[in-house]
C-alpha cells in the first residue's frame, strides 16, 4: 500500500483514504460560454497523459476531505511530493525524478 502525504493533515496516511481526481492545473476558462467547441473540447476532454512526471489532483476523501495536488511518476506510481490546492507547480529536480524511476527492464 502506498503512503501518501496529505498537506493538510501534515502526515503520511494510507492510500485507502485517498481518491485520485485526474490531471492538475487545468484552469476553467472564465468566458466558458463564449469559447468555441474545439476550445471547450481541449479544456474538457484533452489530457496530457504523459509517461513519466505527472501532476495530479488527489482528494483525502476519507480523511480531511480536502483536494490537493501531487507530483508523481506515472510508471512507477511513486509520489515525489504533494502540495496544497492553489499553490504553483513545484520545481522537480533531476535527483527527485531519479529517485522515483521504475526499475529498468531486466532488473530484479
Amino acid at each position: 500500500m502506498l503512503l501518501i502525504h496529505c498537506p493538510y493533515c501534515k502526515e503520511d496516511r494510507p492510500e485507502l483514504e485517498f481518491h485520485g481526481a485526474g490531471e492538475a492545473h487545468i484552469a476553467r476558462p472564465e468566458n466558458i460560454a463564449d469559447i468555441s467547441d474545439a476550445e471547450f473540447e481541449k479544456f474538457f476532454f484533452i489530457r496530457e497523459n504523459q509517461k513519466g512526471l505527472v501532476f495530479e489532483r488527489w482528494r483525502h476523501l476519507n480523511g480531511c476531505g480536502r483536494f490537493f495536488n501531487a507530483a508523481r511518476h506515472s510508471v512507477s506510481d511513486k509520489f515525489i511530493c504533494t502540495y496544497k490546492a492553489g499553490e504553483a507547480k513545484p520545481e522537480i529536480t533531476e535527483e527527485q525524478l531519479a529517485s522515483v524511476l521504475p526499475p529498468a527492464r531486466g532488473d530484479k
Binding site: 493538510y8 493533515c9 476519507n62 480531511c64 476531505g65
Partner: protein
C-alpha cells in the same frame, strides 16, 4: 435535534441490546449523543469558541474536551462536536444563525460504537489502515478514516478505548465487521 419531549415516540438505537465480549476486547453501542457538524472559516473561530464555551482544535488529528463536550478536528475548516443529550448543543445552529458558517445537527445521522480492551487496536486494524500506536494516535487523537468499506470517525478516549462514530445506516456493517475482527484475533 428534534424535540421529542412532547412526544411519546420512542427512537430505537440501531444497535439496541447488542454486546460482544471476548477475553481481551469489549464492543458495545455508545450512548445517544447530540452531534453538530460545523464548517467555519478562520476569522469566525473566536466567536464560535465563545458560543461553544470551548476552544476548537486547530491542528490535525486532535480533539478538545471540556466537561461532556468534545470537539474533533476533521479538516482545516471542519469539526464534529459531540455532547450529552441534555446539553444546549442543539441551540448552536440558532445561536450561529447570523454568522457565515454552517452548523448542522447530525445527532440522529450518526451512531457510535465503543471498542475497548487490550485487543481494541488489533480489532480496529482488521479494517482500518491507520497507525493506531500510542505514538501516532495518542489519547485524544481523532481522525476520519475507513473501516472496511465504511467511513468512520475514530476518537481515542483511553489507552485501550476507542469511540467509533459511523453513519446510522452503516452501523450494522461496522458492528459486524468489528465483531468478525474480534473473533479472528
Amino acid at each position: 435535534m428534534a424535540d421529542t419531549s412532547t412526544s411519546d415516540l420512542h427512537r430505537n438505537h440501531p444497535l439496541e441490546n447488542q454486546l460482544f465480549a471476548t477475553g481481551n476486547v469489549l464492543i458495545k453501542p455508545g450512548h445517544a449523543l447530540a452531534r453538530i457538524s460545523l464548517r467555519a472559516a478562520g476569522d469566525q473561530i473566536e466567536e464560535i469558541n465563545q458560543v461553544l464555551s470551548l476552544d476548537l482544535p486547530d491542528s490535525p488529528k486532535t480533539s478538545v474536551a471540556r466537561d461532556e463536550r468534545t470537539a474533533l478536528w476533521l479538516g482545516p475548516d471542519e469539526w464534529l462536536i459531540l455532547d450529552n443529550l441534555s446539553s444546549d448543543l442543539h441551540e448552536l445552529p440558532k445561536n450561529l444563525a447570523q454568522m457565515l458558517c454552517s452548523a448542522v445537527d447530525i445527532s440522529h445521522r450518526n451512531t457510535s460504537i465503543i471498542v475497548s480492551g487490550k485487543g481494541a487496536v488489533g480489532v480496529l486494524n482488521t479494517g482500518c489502515p491507520q497507525n493506531l500506536s500510542m505514538e501516532a494516535f495518542p489519547v485524544g487523537a481523532c481522525s476520519r478514516t475507513i473501516l472496511g468499506k465504511s467511513e468512520i470517525i475514530l476518537l481515542r478516549i483511553g489507552t485501550s478505548t476507542f469511540h467509533v462514530e459511523c453513519w446510522r445506516s452503516f452501523s450494522d456493517y461496522v458492528w459486524k465487521y468489528l465483531v468478525d475482527g474480534a473473533k479472528t484475533l
